[in-house]
């Protein structure tokens, strides 16, 4: 049972435009969310996170939005650059549970930014 879902396996965006990556979750106990980026032949690297007490967190070109009622989060990249081409994973955790450090990952979205 996939608790964290990324329904778009791939996304193609022109350089300079906005990239929007979506993520849905089913477990209402999740209260902390993260995005990771993965290049080929490398491990995932942390990108940005958001706590459930917020609905938006921004870091440079990257903004994460959280809609708790819809159990949905999205990552916006503006403007998109060719170097952003990678696989993006969203992840969630329940900080109130025993295993607070355990992350549940989504299936990933491959973003391609073309010139």
């Amino acid at each position: 049972d996939q608790q964290v879902k990324q329904n778009s396996p791939s996304l193609s965006v022109q350089e300079g435009r906005i990239s929007i990556l979506n993520c849905d979750y089913t477990n209402s106990m999740f209260d902390y969310f993260l995005w990771y980026k993965k290049y080929p032949a490398e491990g995932p690297t942390f990108l940005i996170s958001i706590s459930s007490i917020k609905d938006k967190n921004e870091d440079g070109r990257f903004t994460v939005f959280l809609n708790k009622s819809a159990k949905h989060l999205s990552l916006h990249i503006v403007p998109s650059q060719p170097g952003d081409s990678a696989v993006y994973f969203c992840a969630a955790s329940d900080r109130r549970s025993y295993n607070t450090d355990k992350l549940i990952f989504g299936t990933g979205t491959r973003l391609q930014v073309f010139p």
Binding site: V4, A41, L103, F105, G108
Partner: protein, 112 residues
């Protein structure tokens, strides 16, 4: 610069072999994790460890075991490799209470 090192980048094994995947971190992190990455399934947690000699099952522990004798080293063991264990294996570490994981580059295991 923080580092998580996985001993092999590529590994080819035969069905039934015992396989060891090694992971070492130099950040003095208490938490260590083993994930596998498969197309369409994302990253799935196999086992994790909060401290030396401690281990907890993740979401897909069947067919795997782990060993953590030293804080910096976390080993994943496939007791009898099977073809459905062909996958990319990723090791990660983190500090307690911190969801930010640091990953190694991964080991692509092929079981023939």
């Amino acid at each position: 610069d923080v580092k998580v090192t996985q001993s092999s980048r590529y590994l080819v094994k035969r069905t039934g072999e015992k396989v060891f995947l090694e992971c070492v971190q130099d950040m003095d992190h208490e938490n260590m994790f083993w994930y596998r990455q498969d197309p369409g399934l994302g990253l799935r947690l196999i086992y994790f460890s909060y401290d030396v000699k401690m281990k907890e099952k993740g979401d897909i522990p069947e067919g795997y075991s782990v060993s953590r004798e030293k804080k910096e080293r976390f080993s994943l063991i496939l007791e009898s490799a099977s073809t459905n264990q062909t996958s990319m294996y990723l090791c990660a570490s983190s500090l307690p209470g911190r969801e930010k994981l640091f990953f190694g580059s991964g080991t692509q295991l092929s079981v023939l």
